[in-house]
């Protein structure tokens, strides 16, 4: 109840500040199982894409939240689990201990495990394949998680998305957000072609996201 109310108020607040405009180019908002993958420039990306999705899709779509950031305080943990219904992931690409000898037989906790579980239960997910927030104009090279998920769940539709302007709303270190229109552009679905290698696919996916910047 409290979560619903918070979600409702938050949605109104985000719309007032940013418009949270969803622009569907290439695919309609449709209740099928999807992986939305988007560029990542701010922690607020998660909130914006959540707000931009239409209500019917929001309830079946789970965004990915970086565990270290979104579980830092009780409030953050509560809002990501109760309101956004997020899936926590340990951020990949962090500093791997250099002296840890790679041991293929050791049971390493797979960071994709929570995402696989969410997909298996039929939910759609929102991921940021760059892994960390970018500060340049162009997104960083995509991490391989997207490819792994795409090959493991070939029936799930992969929808690229471009999130625009969020970093202007609340730059790092500021507390008060500024009203600036933001939009999320959803593009035509991509799929792993038969026999396509990891790297070419990831580059193609990244191009698909970047192409949405100018439509």
């Amino acid at each position: 109840m409290l979560a619903k109310l918070t979600g409702f108020l938050l949605l109104g607040f985000i719309r007032l500040l940013t418009g949270a405009q969803a622009r569907w180019y290439g695919c309609p908002p449709k209740a099928e199982q999807r992986i939305y993958f988007a560029n990542h420039q701010s922690h607020a990306d998660l909130v914006l894409i959540w707000a931009a999705l239409p209500h019917e899709l929001r309830s079946i779509t789970r965004p990915i939240a970086a565990k270290d950031y979104w579980t830092k305080s009780n409030f953050r943990r509560w809002i990501t689990t109760e309101v956004f219904n997020a899936v926590y992931v340990d951020r990949m690409g962090g500093k791997a201990p250099a002296d840890a000898a790679p041991d293929p037989s050791a049971p390493v906790a797979d960071p994709l495990e929570p995402l696989v579980a969410a997909l298996q239960s039929g939910d759609s997910i929102i991921i940021f394949p760059e892994g960390t927030r970018g500060h340049a104009d162009e997104p960083q090279p995509f991490k391989s998680g997207l490819y792994t998920l795409a090959t493991r769940f070939p029936d799930v539709v992969l929808v690229p998305a471009w999130i625009n302007n969020v970093q202007r709303v609340m730059p790092k270190g500021e507390v008060v957000p500024v009203p600036i229109l933001c939009s999320v552009t959803f593009g035509a679905p991509v799929r792993v072609e038969p026999g396509e290698e990891r790297r070419p696919f990831l580059d193609r996916a990244r191009q698909a996201v970047m192409a949405l910047r100018d439509v």
Partner: protein, 330 residues
């Protein structure tokens, strides 16, 4: 017969009737949309297109409901709420303006100040009838305060440009817009409580000028006078538009506290400043390489930008307001 019936009602009953009609139409569309959404769409490109159409139509309908409801609430609750409503319009207009004016990190605090301090204070000054302070608050005090805040962010890159943009946005969207509700509160002797008609006079005259100018442009092809800024603007069309607006103003004398000659003159002033202000805003859009203030073709109104609709008013309102105040010594 129904016309006679409408004529015999008093002003507030007429407005109620208008709202009833609009709400009825919206209700009809909503029911139709709901029935349509019950039909199953096939998983074909055609079905996808229909789904997209329904989605867009639903968004537009929702916006219309919201706007009409807001206007209705504003009308029911009186001047204070109407003032707040214009404040909200100014907020959305400034949001569109800032979105298309690249700012840097160092501008963040100035922007916060502009949206959350300057804007509310300006409209509060209107509501409390501090007419002298409200006239100088932005051009004098804010004009100094905002650059100081930007300076403290310690970023000299494109400093003049960034500050000029913010200043312009505030002047047009906040300062200009705040003069519209100020008309509601102007105290004409023997005209108390009828400020709404002055607002109506201003809006109607300015919009007529714009529409006539546009229609004449379609019927009567003339070479553009400033082709690099506007493909459609020509002095001939403009002259016809202003003339039509001035005549309309004179015809509307009955609802204003003016004499016919004064109404004609004030309508002329409002039409000239509104239409030329619109042209100036076109130049700003050209500079940014966009055709509309709406974000990539979409905005709160669902089509085009809000600022595109109200920019003429933002320029006309301060000129009209101060002309009236000066001429009648109010």
């Amino acid at each position: 017969m129904s016309y006679q019936f409408l004529r015999n009602m008093d002003a507030s009953q007429q407005i109620s009737a208008l709202f009833l009609i609009v709400f009825g139409v919206l209700m009809g569309f909503s029911v139709y949309g709901f029935v349509q959404s019950l039909r199953e769409q096939p998983d074909t490109p055609l079905g996808d297109a229909r789904r997209m159409e329904l989605y867009n139509a639903r968004g537009l309908l929702k916006t219309s409901w919201l706007m009409v409801t807001i206007f209705w609430v504003g009308w029911v609750l009186g001047d204070g709420v109407a003032n707040a409503l214009f404040g909200i319009v100014a907020f959305f207009a400034l949001r569109e303006f800032i979105t298309l004016s690249p700012t840097r990190r160092g501008d963040h605090r100035s922007l916060v100040l502009a949206f959350f301090v300057v804007l509310p204070v300006q409209f509060w000054l209107v509501a409390t009838r501090h007419f002298d302070l409200f006239t100088v608050f932005i051009p004098v005090y804010v004009f100094l305060a905002l650059p100081v805040v930007s300076v403290l962010a310690d970023d000299p890159q494109r400093f003049l440009e960034r500050n000029a943009k913010l200043q312009w946005g505030i002047m047009v969207c906040v300062y200009g817009m705040s003069h519209v509700p100020a008309l509601l509160l102007l105290n004409f002797p023997g005209y108390e409580g009828k400020g709404a008609f002055l607002v109506f006079f201003l809006v109607f005259v300015v919009q007529t000028c714009m529409v006539v100018q546009h229609m004449v442009g379609i019927k009567l092809k003339r070479p553009a006078s400033v082709p690099n800024i506007s493909k459609s603007f020509s002095w001939v069309h403009w002259g016809v538009g202003v003339l039509a607006a001035s005549v309309l103003g004179a015809l509307l004398t009955g609802i204003t506290p003016f004499k016919p000659g004064q109404a004609l003159g004030l309508a002329f002033i409002a039409a000239v400043s509104g239409s030329l202000g619109h042209l100036v805003m076109k130049a700003l859009k050209r500079d940014r390489g966009v055709t509309s203030w709406g974000f990539q073709g979409m905005s709160v109104t669902g089509a085009g930008g809000l600022l595109d609709r109200v920019d003429a008013l933002c320029f006309a309102a301060p000129v009209f307001f101060h002309s009236v105040r000066w001429y009648f010594g109010l």
